[in-house]
C-alpha cells in the first residue's frame, strides 16, 4: 500500500520509443487502469515500476522514495505477467507457494498452506492445486498467476491483462473479486486492460497511453465525458463515438474540424434526415446503424423500438464534443 509516482519517465528499445516523458501519480489505495492500443507502452510502464527494466530518464518513486536503485525484490511489488505465467516444473500449489517461500518472507509452512487455500478458494482453483502447472487450461493458468500475486501483501499490484483469457462469466466474477480485494485491503493497483467494462467498473483512475505518451489521466467518468482529444474519446464507449466533419449538422464553433457524438448523444425525432441501414437488437438495448448523406453513424434507442431497416428518421446532436483539425478537444 503506497503511492507510486512516475516522473518524466522515458524508455527506448533501440529506435523504438516505448515510453516518452510519462508523468503520473498513482495515489495510495487507487485502482488505476492503463488503456492504450497494442505497443502503447503499457507493459513497459509496469516493468519499469517492477524494476525489470531501467528507465533511460525519469524517476520511479514508491511511498515517496526513489526505487531506481532497488532490486525487484526490494521494491515489494507483485506482478501478473501478460504472457509467461507459471513455473512449468512446479505444481499449482508450489507455484502459489513460491512467493511465500521467498527468503525475504520466511513464513512457516502452515501459514503458507493457509494462504494458498484461501486464494485458491477465491479463484476457484482449489481442485487443481496438485496438478502440474502445464496441465491446466489457459483460463486456469491465468487464475493461478493472479493467485501468485494475491498470496502476498505487496505495496502495489501490477496486473497486465490478467483476465484476458477467461470466459465472460468468470471474468465478471473475478472483476468483482479483485474489486473486493482492492476495497478490503486498501491495496494499490495498476491494471492493464483492453476491456472497457473492466476500465469503467474497476478503476478509480484511468490513464490513457498512446505511442508511449500519457494522453490523459483522470476518473473513468471524466475520461468518458471530457476526453482531451479524439483518440481518448474513441478508447472508451461501446459502440464507439461517432466522429463526423464539424459542419455535418450545420453551424459549428470557429476552429472545429470534427464533431464527436456518442451514440447516446444523438436525439431522434427532428433535425437531419438519415436512413436506417440496420437494426441491431441486443436485448437490453437496440442499436440503429444510420446513413446520413455520406456518413455512417450508430445510435442507441430503446429495446422495444418499432424502427426497421430502410426507414428514414430525423436526428440532431445532443451534447456534442468538438475537436480541432489536430484532434484536440476545443469544446
Amino acid at each position: 500500500m503506497a503511492e507510486v509516482r512516475l516522473s518524466n519517465l522515458s524508455k527506448s528499445f533501440g529506435a523504438t520509443k516505448a515510453l516518452s516523458d510519462v508523468t503520473m501519480t498513482i495515489p495510495d489505495g487507487a485502482f488505476v487502469v492503463l488503456l492504450g492500443p497494442t505497443g502503447a507502452g503499457k507493459t513497459t510502464t509496469l516493468r519499469l515500476i517492477a524494476g525489470l527494466d531501467r528507465p533511460d530518464a525519469g524517476d520511479v518513486q514508491i511511498a515517496g522514495a526513489s526505487v531506481l536503485g532497488d532490486t525487484p525484490a526490494q521494491r515489494d511489488v507483485a506482478m501478473v505477467f501478460q504472457q509467461y505465467s507459471l513455473y512449468p516444473h512446479m505444481s499449482v500449489r508450489d507455484n502459489l507457494a513460491f512467493p511465500l517461500r521467498s527468503p525475504v518472507l520466511n513464513l512457516p509452512e502452515a501459514e503458507i498452506d493457509r494462504q494458498i487455500n484461501a486464494v485458491a478458494g477465491v479463484l476457484r482453483i482449489s481442485h487443481k492445486l496438485d496438478n502440474k502447472a502445464t496441465q491446466l487450461s489457459g483460463g486456469e493458468m491465468q487464475r493461478v498467476s493472479i493467485g501468485r500475486a494475491l498470496v502476498r501483501n505487496p505495496r502495489i499490484y501490477l496486473m497486465d491483462e490478467p483476465l484476458s483469457s477467461l470466459d465472460a462469466k468468470l471474468r465478471a466474477e473475478l472483476r468483482i473479486e479483485l474489486k473486493r480485494i482492492h476495497a478490503e485491503m486498501g491495496a494499490t493497483f495498476l491494471y492493464v486492460t483492453h476491456d472497457q467494462i473492466e476500465a469503467m467498473t474497476m478503476a478509480t483512475h484511468v490513464g490513457v497511453l498512446d505511442a508511449g505518451r500519457l494522453v490523459q489521466f483522470g476518473t473513468p467518468r471524466d475520461i468518458y465525458d471530457n476526453p482531451h482529444n479524439i483518440y481518448v474519446a474513441t478508447r472508451l464507449g461501446q459502440p464507439r463515438i461517432n466522429i463526423l466533419p464539424a459542419t455535418a449538422f450545420g453551424q459549428a464553433p470557429q476552429t472545429a474540424a470534427h464533431i464527436g457524438l456518442r451514440p447516446e448523444h444523438i436525439a431522434v425525432g427532428d433535425g437531419q434526415a438519415a436512413t436506417i441501414r440496420r437494426v441491431e437488437r441486443l436485448g437490453d438495448q437496440t442499436r440503429l446503424h444510420l446513413v446520413m448523406g455520406s456518413h455512417d453513424l450508430i445510435t442507441l434507442t430503446d429495446a422495444h423500438t418499432s424502427h426497421s431497416a430502410g426507414e428514414t428518421v430525423h436526428i440532431r446532436p445532443a451534447n456534442p464534443l468538438w475537436f480541432d483539425a489536430a484532434g484536440q478537444r476545443i469544446a
Partner: protein
C-alpha cells in the same frame, strides 16, 4: 474401426517401427553380447572353433582380471593346504596360485575419479558460462563464443606434444588433477554450447517473475532455471562422461602409474600369460557399466523433454 488420430500412430505403424528398432538393436548389441559372454567363458571355450554359444559359465575371467598369479610345479601344488576360497580353487585348477591383486581395481577407480570429476567440473563451469552468455550483455559475446567453439575445431591429440611438455614442467603428468583439467578443457566448449542452447529456450519471464517474487538472481537461477535446464544438463553430462571415460590417446601419453585410467590398462591384460580373452571380456564388461548406469539414472530427465506448456500467449 478405430478413429483416426494425428498424434496416435496406427497399430501397423507401431509394428513396423517396433520391428525396425528391434532389428537395429540386435545388430548393434550382438558384439556387446559376445564380449559379455566371453567374460564368462573359460579360456579354452573362448577360443574354440566353431565358437561356442552354449557353454558352462565360469568366473575365471573375472578372477584373472583382478589377480596376478604364478604357475607352480605339480608337487608343490599338492603340498599346499586346501584352497580357502572359490577363486583360489579356480586358479589352482590351472596349476597356479594367486600372488596378489592386479592393478585393474586401481585403474578402474582412476577412471571413475577422472571421468566423473571432469564431467562435474565441465557441467558446473559450462552451466554458469552458458547462463551468462545467454542472459547478460557480455562484451565481444559472439567472438568469445566462437573462440570457445574453435578449441574443438582441431583434434585434441594434435596438441598432444605441447600438452605433454607443459604437463611435465607443471608436474601435472600422471596426476588425477591433470587429467581432470585436461578432459574438462576438451569438454567445456561442448558443454557451453549445448547448455546455452537449452538455457536460451527458457523464457526470461520465469526468472523475472522469481525476482519479483522476492528472490535474488542467483536464487532464481537455482530454483527456476536449473530445474528447467535439467534435460540439457543431463544430456550434456552424458556426452562429457562418455568422452572422458573412453579417452585413450591422452591417457596413454600422460598417465602410466598413479593416474592411469582403464582404457590404456585393458589392452595390457591380453599380454599377461597368453591371450586371456575371458579376462579382457570381463574387463570390458565392467568398463561399460558406469556409463550405462549413469545414463539409466538420468533417463528420467532425458525423456521428460522441455516443457513449453505453461506459457500463455
Amino acid at each position: 474401426m478405430s478413429a483416426y488420430s494425428i498424434t496416435e500412430p496406427t497399430l501397423r505403424a507401431k509394428w513396423v517401427a517396433g520391428s525396425i528398432v528391434v532389428l537395429y538393436a540386435l545388430i548393434t548389441l550382438l558384439p556387446l553380447v559376445w564380449i559379455v559372454l566371453t567374460g564368462f567363458k573359460t579360456p579354452p571355450d573362448s577360443i574354440s572353433y566353431p565358437p561356442k554359444v552354449i557353454f558352462s559359465p565360469s568366473m575365471e575371467g573375472y578372477v584373472n582380471l583382478f589377480t596376478t598369479r604364478s604357475r607352480i610345479a605339480a608337487d608343490d601344488l599338492a603340498a599346499l593346504p586346501p584352497p580357502e576360497t572359490w577363486y583360489d580353487q579356480i586358479v589352482r585348477d590351472r596349476d597356479m596360485v594367486i600372488v596378489g591383486p592386479s592393478k585393474f581395481g586401481e585403474r578402474f577407480l582412476n577412471s571413475v575419479i577422472i571421468g566423473f570429476g571432469s564431467t562435474a567440473l565441465s557441467i558446473i563451469l559450462g552451466t554458469l558460462a552458458a547462463y551468462a552468455f545467454s542472459r547478460f550483455r557480455v562484451p565481444l559475446k559472439d567472438d568469445l563464443l566462437f573462440f570457445i567453439l574453435s578449441t574443438r575445431m582441431m583434434p585434441p591429440i594434435a596438441v598432444a606434444i605441447p600438452i605433454f611438455l607443459m604437463y611435465r614442467s607443471l608436474g601435472l603428468s600422471d596426476t588425477h588433477l591433470g587429467m581432470i583439467l585436461l578432459y574438462t578443457g576438451v569438454n567445456i566448449s561442448l558443454a557451453v554450447w549445448l547448455l546455452k542452447g537449452f538455457i536460451d529456450e527458457i523464457p526470461r519471464e520465469y526468472e523475472e517473475a522469481a525476482l519479483i517474487d522476492g528472490y535474488t538472481r542467483f536464487q532464481a537461477f537455482r530454483k527456476v532455471v536449473l530445474p528447467q535446464a535439467a534435460t540439457g544438463i543431463a544430456s550434456t553430462a552424458i556426452f562429457c562422461l562418455i568422452f572422458a571415460w573412453n579417452e585413450y590417446a591422452f591417457a596413454v601419453l600422460l598417465t602410466s602409474g598413479t593416474a592411469q585410467t582403464a582404457p590404456p590398462f585393458i589392452p595390457t591384460i591380453i599380454g599377461v600369460g597368453g591371450q586371456d580373452w575371458p579376462a579382457v571380456g570381463a574387463g570390458v564388461t565392467l568398463f561399460l557399466l558406469p556409463v550405462m548406469i549413469f545414463t539409466i539414472l538420468l533417463r528420467k530427465h532425458l525423456l521428460r523433454g522441455i516443457t513449453f506448456g505453461a506459457v500463455r500467449k
